[in-house]
């Protein structure tokens, strides 16, 4: 029985691991921290897995646990120097994939998002993952109205960064 549970969990996580990697990309700045956070999220998902009833999709359930771990439970390691060197991680913007302005804009936006606070990052992440405001507000525990207002404020922040 237990073996079966382990197998089911690891298989599900393996095929949905992109969600966790994306959270790690937003919340950490180097490869070691990325792996560290990935591991902590995996542990938290596994600990909570017996309570997963399957009335929602596994991926939906993952968003909450992954973000909770990143925002609340994860302790950033103090040993490492925090850098903002976004290019060195993932999401390298490839040259000639976009024209210059578009490429520049994307780069600027990714950089700006990395500098948001933990809560705003979660908001943007769920938005980029195409979640609606109901799901965003339920995941974070804020009202839908507040989620919209916060999102607008983040958009304004990004706008100022793009058009100084």
């Amino acid at each position: 029985m237990n073996k079966e549970l382990e197998h089911r969990f690891v298989t599900e996580l393996e095929s949905n691991q992109n969600i966790v990697h994306k959270v790690c990309t937003l919340y950490t700045n180097d490869k070691d921290s990325h792996n560290d956070l990935f591991q902590e999220i995996t542990i938290q998902l596994w600990k909570a897995y017996p309570k997963f009833r399957g009335d929602s999709k596994f991926s939906t359930w993952m968003y909450r646990v992954a973000l909770n771990t990143a925002i609340t439970l994860y302790r950033k390691s103090k040993r490492r120097v925090q850098t903002q060197d976004y290019d060195s991680v993932i999401f390298k913007i490839k040259a000639n994939e976009y024209d210059d302005t578009e490429e520049r804009q994307l780069k600027l936006m990714y950089n700006a998002i990395k500098q948001l606070n933990d809560v705003d990052k979660a908001l943007v992440f769920l938005y980029l993952e195409d979640k609606d405001y109901t799901e965003i507000s339920e995941t974070l525990g804020i009202t839908e109205v507040n989620a919209r207002v916060k999102m607008n404020r983040v958009k304004n922040k990004l706008r100022t960064i793009l058009n100084p």
């Binding site: 591991q39 909450r64 609340t72 578009e102 804009q105």
Partner: protein, 215 residues
């Protein structure tokens, strides 16, 4: 702006191919690793904080204090204070355990943060209580000294302050106890609140952010 964010969304969703890929075995190994979450830290540090004040009684000089209490005629008072103290401590431990059990990663972010902070706050109240008890002990000692005639004898200081008039020696001893008591409490409190602040800084910051209403 909306266009730019839509552009970002499209770009974001196209980038899956660049993400790292972990194998089944790599993930399987991870589920047996120990969590190093903030909740774990808070749990262990809190346990230490519950135990630490009681370890002091194992130090021989602290046990000698018990003799001192009887010499100063404080035995009964100390007994009553100890009983009350232990009742309160058990209440705190019960509260701590109950709140700790309520922490669930399946709650929404605001609820989760709030539950962790509440758990930690129980320990904070316990520490404030312990510090008050330390201070109270010093106050009792000072009162005891005040009502004792042969203070120097009771403290084992016979002959050491013989040059001073008895009353003056008593005042000096009382003042020293008062100063030491306050410094001791402040030092303990300082260390604790520094630790408390460091452990919960991130939580408090995010909690404020989640509670803040944007208008």
């Amino acid at each position: 702006m909306l266009d730019e964010l839509e552009l970002l969304k499209k770009d974001w969703q196209k980038r899956d191919a660049e993400l790292p890929k972990l194998s089944y075995d790599e993930i399987y190994k991870m589920i047996w690793k120990k969590s190093s979450s903030i909740v774990k830290w808070i749990f262990y540090i809190s346990i230490i904080e519950f135990i630490l004040p009681h370890l002091l009684y194992l130090v021989p000089s602290m046990r000698n204090n018990l003799d001192l209490y009887s010499d100063l005629g404080l035995s009964n008072v100390i007994l009553v204070v100890s009983i009350v103290q232990y009742l309160v401590i058990f209440y705190f431990i019960y509260q701590f355990y109950k709140r700790y059990r309520e922490i669930s990663v399946l709650d929404n972010a605001r609820q989760l943060t709030s539950n962790i902070l509440r758990t930690r706050k129980t320990v904070k109240h316990y520490v404030i209580f312990s510090l008050s008890m330390v201070l109270l002990t010093f106050v009792l000692l000072i009162v005891g000294i005040y009502f004792t005639d042969n203070v120097l004898e009771a403290l084992g200081l016979t002959g050491k302050m013989a040059s001073l008039p008895a009353n003056e020696a008593k005042m000096i001893i009382m003042a020293s106890f008062a100063i030491f008591g306050v410094l001791f409490t402040v030092a303990l409190g300082g260390i604790y609140f520094l630790l408390y602040g460091l452990l919960t800084r991130k939580l408090r910051k995010n909690y404020r952010e989640l509670q803040k209403l944007e208008v």
